[in-house]
Symmetry: C2
Subunit: 343 residues, 2 copies
DNA sequence: TTGAAAGCGCTAACAG
DNA sequence: CTGTTAGCGCTTTCAA
């Protein structure tokens, strides 16, 4: 009996062999008791589970992973952990993973394509699948990754790759309707990163909605999607007919708020400002920001759930990716159109 | 030759055996070429590396981990991923890990002791060591973990367990000196969670520093370390001689700002407010918050570096944990003591 | 339903 | 310096 020769119950963590010996069954039976409980006599299984608990046996995921490839780990790679947009995504993803007893590897790529490639590379042989947030790598690189591991991308539709996204179009329509209802006739969009799919999407949606509502729209930018970026946009805001600005995201909106305050334009009396995302801090600034709330946590959760489904063998939903609904949060930065504009 | 029987170069990812065959060397030599380059002939090593690169071989971390126990993974478990204090810690930790080609597992325990235990349990057999942020579990449980894996805890000294911490004492002294220099004579500390080591530390340090500077101090609380917590503290602020408040953290300070504004007390004209941490958003609120900046990113980095050092065999620095220096950031929420107080 | 045996891909003695 | 030989702990045929 080969198993007799296995290590005796020394100080280190117990193995399947220890349980087998204690129980008087073969190691393979212990293994089965844990990995496919159906295939073992119910009472034997129970006895095995008892002794396992007693001697403190816990299956070793590494050892399991070697023959099966199943590591119970998924990788989440995001461009910037410190970007408030991602906190909630991370939490949602982590919660969904933990719920399924999966462990989440987190990588921060610092917005750099090279680091993103490295992170994927580093995690590839260890995770069962990936969730990629706002990826910087090319569509073809993405498809290559998808060929090796199940993959879900966030907020970016890529042919043949499953993704989940915010319903940008609906969000921008909400913003436009809100402003329209307040009587604004001319609005300016302050754009985020040029290459961003989300930015293009948001701009097009806003324009469409605004036009339908008989408002004039123009676009300024691109700007880096940050507070300084928003401040930089303010000078270009002056001199038009604009009485309301909608920004690519909240950081930009907060920057616009700042910039406007600096040059003495009062918000919302003289100018209304609407952000996008509803990040932590959007209600801290003053005036508190009216913004389109993106279901960030739900995004993380949905992505992981989708990934786990694929891992369980569900077909990859590559076509129409689900669009998560937005919600308009009206706070203090929007008000009816001023009778006489001043900017 | 046993190795001859190993799988031939089929479609799946190449192994050590594939490289060995291509190169005409033994598998163990290939292994050595990657794991201890010193122990193999330089030119052979180079040749191996070449072919490895050519056929796309990459060492399988799972397979490596099984015999060695070295997974190149560390676990970071934090109470709340969405708490702005932790973003920077996470980023610092992740960067330090990536720098050493380590992968980081992240777990969010939602401030719950049970989830913290589960997370540690889940990660235990897969990581080489842990960094635990603001752990909720007992000292003895912590020591038990430390017995199984190298461990570094954040902001909480535990006997026999290495830790890194913010220099709370110095931070509070900076706050007290700032307020003293502005002429304040009576200050109130708004306390955070009762059980928190950091809270106790901050309060004692503030009191000591204030007393030395001939200021009166009192303590209010405990309060949950959140914006609502800060708002809840405001009523108790009235009626004393207090002209300045120092809070356990920024969230509380922002809450105090809000609460004060609501009851018509002007900051900083009538009351000065100082926070702690300098989280994202501390400069977004209005007035922008004067606060003691904690080196959060450095904290994450230092913890991981310490952990990696232990992994390399350095002795666990359990005694005096390093204290990372704070920095006072003066913004708009503090001003000279009002001539006539009003609260 | 259970046991025996053969690996998963890599590392680590131990010889040579 | 290099090859040979056992495993790491678990899963998985294949028989019984």
């Amino acid at each position: 009996m080969a198993s007799e020769q296995r290590r005796s119950g020394d100080g280190s963590t117990p193995t399947i062999y220890d349980v087998a010996r204690e129980c008087g069954v073969a190691p393979s039976t212990v293994s089965r008791a844990f990995s496919r409980p159906g295939r073992v006599n119910a009472v034997t299984a129970e006895r095995i589970r008892q002794t396992a608990a007693r001697i403190g046996y816990r299956t070793n995921p590494i050892a399991r992973a070697l023959p099966t490839g199943r590591t119970s780990m998924i990788g989440l790679v995001v461009p910037d952990v410190t970007n408030p947009v991602y906190f909630e995504v991370i939490r949602g993803a982590e919660a969904a993973a933990a719920e399924a007893s999966f462990t989440m590897l987190l990588a921060d790529t610092q917005e750099q394509m090279r680091l993103e490639h490295e992170a994927i590379e580093r995690q590839m042989s260890v995770v069962e699948g990936f969730v990629l947030g706002t990826s910087r790598i090319s569509d073809s690189a993405l498809r290559k990754v998808a060929k090796q591991r199940p993959l879900v991308v966030l907020n970016r539709p890529v042919a043949d790759v499953p993704s989940v996204a915010i319903d940008n179009a609906h969000g921008m329509r909400q913003a436009a309707e809100h402003l329209g209802a307040l009587g604004h006739r001319a609005i300016t969009y302050v754009a985020g990163p040029e290459a961003s799919w989300a930015d293009g999407m948001r701009w097009r949606s806003l324009r469409e909605a605004a036009l339908e509502l008989n408002m004039r729209v123009r676009r300024l930018g691109p700007y880096p999607p940050t507070v300084p970026g928003g401040m930089a946009a303010v000078p270009s805001l002056r001199g038009g007919a604009t009485t309301a600005v909608v920004t690519y995201n909240d950081l930009l909106a907060i920057g616009v708020l700042r910039g406007l305050q600096r040059i003495g334009v009062r918000v919302p009396d003289e100018m209304s400002v609407v952000g996008f995302d509803n990040i932590f801090g959007a209600d801290l600034c003053s005036p508190a920001l009216t913004t389109v709330a993106a279901p960030l946590r739900a995004l993380g959760t949905a992505a992981v759930r989708e990934l786990l489904a694929q891992l369980r063998g569900a077909p990859a939903r590559t076509g129409n990716s689900p669009f998560l609904p937005t919600r308009l949060v009206v706070r203090e930065s929007t008000a009816p159109r001023p009778v006489r504009r001043r900017v």
